[in-house]
C-alpha cells in the first residue's frame, strides 16, 4: 500500500516527512516523547539511507546490520523509518496506541525492525556490545550502531559496556550519542553533568568524532571517517542535537518530552513542517 505520506515527497527517509509521520503517530496515539524522536531524525535518515544494510529488505535478515535504539524513547523516529521501508503500513501509524496494537511507546524487540527492548535505559548498548562481539567472532562484516541518549549516559552499564567494547576491540560497533542536552527533569548539565564526552570516550579507547547531529552531509562524512579509522577500536559519534528539532515551539523546550499534541498544536506543527494541512 502506497502511503499518502510517502507520496508527498520524493526521497526516502526525508527528514521533513519523517517528522510528519512522528507527528501523525503522536497525535493518533495521544502520546509523548515527540521531542526525543525529533532529535535523532537526521541521524536515522543518514543511517537508513546510506549505511544500514538489510538484505532482501528483510528486517530479520541474518546478514543485516543492527541498529540498536538504546534510547527507546525515540522509537517513533524509528517507526517513521520503518514506515518509509514499507515495514509498517499507514494503518500502523493511524492506529498507534490502539488497544491490541503492536507498536508500543518504547522500543520492543518483538517488532520486526526493532532490535532491542529498551526504554529502561542502559540496556540496549550492552546488548549491542554482545551482538558486535558475536559478529566479530563469526567473522562477518556486519555493523552495529547503538544510539544512546546523553541522559542515558547516567546509567552505569553504558560505561561497563564501553570498557568491554574497547577491551575486545569491537571495531564493528558504533556508539552514537544523541547529545540534545536534556533529560527528563532538566538539562544534562543541571541533573548530572557529563563533562567532555569526546574526551571521555577517547580515553575509554574509542575512535571518537563530534558532529552536528542535524547536518546530514556532516553525519555521513563522520560515520565514514570513523569506519575508516582505527581498525582495532570501537567508534563513538557524539552528535550535537536539538531536542524537539524541526518544530520551533518544541525546540529545546523540555516540556515536549511529556506534552501531548492537541488539534491546535498538531496543526501548527504540521504547518511549520511545510505541509498545508493536517490529514486528520
Amino acid at each position: 500500500m502506497m502511503s499518502p505520506i510517502i507520496e508527498s515527497s520524493m526521497t526516502p527517509f526525508d527528514p521533513v516527512r519523517m517528522r510528519r509521520t512522528v507527528l501523525e503517530m503522536a497525535y493518533a496515539g495521544s502520546t509523548i516523547h515527540i521531542a526525543c524522536a525529533f532529535s535523532i531524525i537526521e541521524l536515522l535518515t543518514v543511517l537508513y539511507r546510506h549505511h544500514l544494510r538489510y538484505p532482501g529488505n528483510d528486517p530479520r535478515a541474518e546478514g543485516r546490520d543492527y541498529l540498536v535504539l538504546s534510547k527507546g524513547h525515540g522509537v517513533m523516529a524509528q517507526y517513521a523509518c520503518m514506515h518509509e521501508l514499507g515495514w509498517l503500513e499507514d494503518s500502523h501509524i493511524q492506529n498507534y496506541f490502539k488497544d491490541g496494537s503492536d507498536l508500543k511507546g518504547l522500543s520492543d524487540s518483538r517488532v520486526a525492525g526493532l532490535e532491542v527492548t529498551s526504554g529502561s535505559l542502559g540496556h540496549g548498548f550492552s546488548v549491542g556490545v554482545g551482538i558486535a562481539l558475536g559478529l566479530t567472532r563469526k567473522g562477518t562484516d556486519q555493523k552495529v550502531y547503538a544510539i544512546v541518549g546523553d541522559g542515558e549516559l547516567n546509567e552505569g552499564p553504558i560505561w561497563e559496556g564501553a570498557l568491554v567494547a574497547a577491551h575486545h576491540r569491537l571495531n564493528n560497533l558504533m556508539l552514537i550519542v544523541d547529545k540534545n542536552g536534556f533529560q527528563a527533569m532538566g538539562t544534562t548539565d543541571d541533573v548530572l553533568a557529563l563533562g567532555d564526552l569526546p574526551a571521555k570516550f577517547s580515553s575509554f579507547g574509542f575512535e571518537t568524532l563530534e558532529v552536528d547531529g542535524h547536518d546530514e552531509i556532516a553525519i555521513d562524512a563522520a560515520i565514514r571517517q570513523l569506519w575508516a579509522a582505527g581498525p582495532t577500536k570501537p567508534k563513538a559519534l557524539i552528535a550535537r542535537t536539538v531536542k524537539g528539532k524541526g518544530v520551533s515551539f518544541m525546540e529545546s523546550i523540555n516540556l515536549w518530552h511529556y506534552t501531548r499534541l492537541d488539534p491546535k498544536s498538531f496543526a501548527e506543527a504540521v504547518s511549520e513542517l511545510g505541509f498545508t494541512g493536517a490529514s486528520k
Binding site: 524487540s109 540496556h123 540496549g124 550492552s126 546488548v127 551482538i131 558475536g134 567472532r137 563469526k138 568491554v164
Partner: protein, 310 residues
C-alpha cells in the same frame, strides 16, 4: 557436584562451538578444565554483571549459546532487570548459572548470600528455574538447560553434601518431581530442592517418609504435586531459600488450587543472617540444620496423626 558441572559444561562446549562461557570474574579454579579445552569460548566479562547479561543477550541474538556464570547474589539478583528485559522477554537461549546460592558464602555475610533468587526468578515469564540436588541432577540439569533452547536460571547451592540418587538421571522432564524414596502414606511426604534434599533424605529414612526431589522450581508439574498429596498425609517442603516465593510457595500455589492439603514450608525465615560462621552454623541459626528440621517434621507428623487438624 562442581566437577559434574564443569564436566557437563566442557562436554557441551566441545560438542557445540556456539557455547560460550561468560563469567563476571568469578570461578577461578572451577573453569581450569574449560579454559584448557575451550579457551576461545571463555569470556571473562569483568566485574560488570549488568553489562555481561545484556551482552549475553546480544550474543544469543546472533546465534551463540551463552552460559553466564556468577554468584547467585549477582546472577540473578544484581541483574534481575537485564534477565527480564534482555533475555526472558525475547525467549533467548541463555543459561544463567548462579553459584553459591543459599548460605555457601556463610563467612562473607549478606552481600554474598542468596535466599531470594528463586522468588525473583520464578516470577519472570518464560524463564525456567532449576535447582539440582546432587551431581547426577546437575549433569541432567545442564543437559536440559542446553537442550531446552530458552532462558534458564540454574541455581547451584552447597555442592559437597553427597548424592541423593543412586545413579545418573537419564533426562529431566520439565517440571517433574523425582521420587527419591517410598515411605508411609499415613505420614507427611517431603518435597525438597537443591542442597536440602540430602538432609531430607536422612530425615525421610529415619521417619520412613516419602521423599521427592524438585529439580525444577519452574515449571512445576501440577500432576506430580497432586500425586504427592494423594500418596501422603500432608506435605513438607524444604529449601535453602526464603520461605517466601520459593519451593514452598510453588507447591502451595498448586495444592491450594488443585489438591488442598496442609503444607509445612521449611526454609529460611524472612530475615537476614545475623552472625558469621560456617555453612552448618548458619543453617542452625536459621533452623535448617538436620536436627532442627527433623524435630519440626516429627512434630508435624504427630500433629497430622492426631487428627486435630480440621
Amino acid at each position: 557436584m562442581r566437577e559434574a558441572f564443569s564436566n557437563a559444561l566442557v562436554r557441551l562446549a566441545v560438542a557445540d562451538s556456539k557455547v560460550l562461557l561468560l563469567t563476571g570474574d568469578h570461578g577461578y579454579s572451577l573453569f581450569d578444565e574449560f579454559r584448557k579445552r575451550c579457551p576461545d569460548q571463555y569470556i571473562n566479562a569483568g566485574i560488570a554483571e549488568q553489562n555481561m547479561v545484556g551482552m549475553a543477550a546480544g550474543l544469543a541474538r546472533v546465534g551463540f549459546r551463552p552460559f553466564v556464570y556468577g554468584l547467585a547474589a549477582f546472577i540473578p539478583i544484581r541483574t534481575v532487570e537485564q534477565i527480564k528485559l534482555d533475555i526472558a522477554h525475547d525467549d533467548l537461549p541463555v543459561v544463567l548459572l548462579g553459584d553459591g546460592a543459599g548460605f555457601v558464602y556463610s563467612h562473607l555475610g549478606t552481600s554474598h548470600q542468596s535466599t531470594e533468587d528463586i522468588a525473583c526468578t520464578r516470577a519472570i515469564p518464560q524463564l525456567q528455574v532449576l535447582s539440582p540436588a546432587d551431581r547426577f541432577e546437575m549433569t541432567a540439569a545442564m543437559d536440559y538447560a542446553y537442550a531446552t533452547n530458552g532462558p534458564v536460571y540454574l541455581r547451584m547451592g552447597k555442592a559437597d553434601l553427597g548424592d541423593v540418587h543412586t545413579g545418573p538421571n537419564n533426562s529431566l522432564q520439565p517440571g517433574r518431581l523425582l521420587k527419591i524414596r517410598d515411605g508411609r502414606s499415613d505420614r507427611p511426604g517431603l518435597i525438597a530442592t537443591g542442597s536440602m534434599v540430602r538432609a531430607a533424605l536422612d530425615i525421610a529414612v529415619s521417619l520412613d517418609l516419602r521423599l521427592w526431589s524438585a529439580p525444577f522450581l519452574k515449571p512445576l508439574h501440577v500432576d506430580d504435586v497432586r500425586t504427592a498429596v494423594q500418596a501422603t498425609n500432608g506435605l513438607v517442603t524444604l529449601e535453602e531459600h526464603s520461605v517466601l516465593g520459593g519451593l514452598g510457595a510453588a507447591v502451595s500455589e498448586i495444592t491450594s488450587e488443585h489438591q488442598p492439603t496442609r503444607v509445612l514450608r521449611i526454609g529460611v525465615p524472612d530475615r537476614f543472617s545475623e552472625h558469621c560462621g560456617t555453612h552448618a552454623y548458619l543453617l542452625r541459626e536459621h533452623g535448617l540444620d538436620t536436627d532442627s528440621v527433623r524435630e519440626r517434621v516429627e512434630a508435624y507428623c504427630q500433629l497430622m496423626a492426631s487428627n486435630l487438624i480440621p
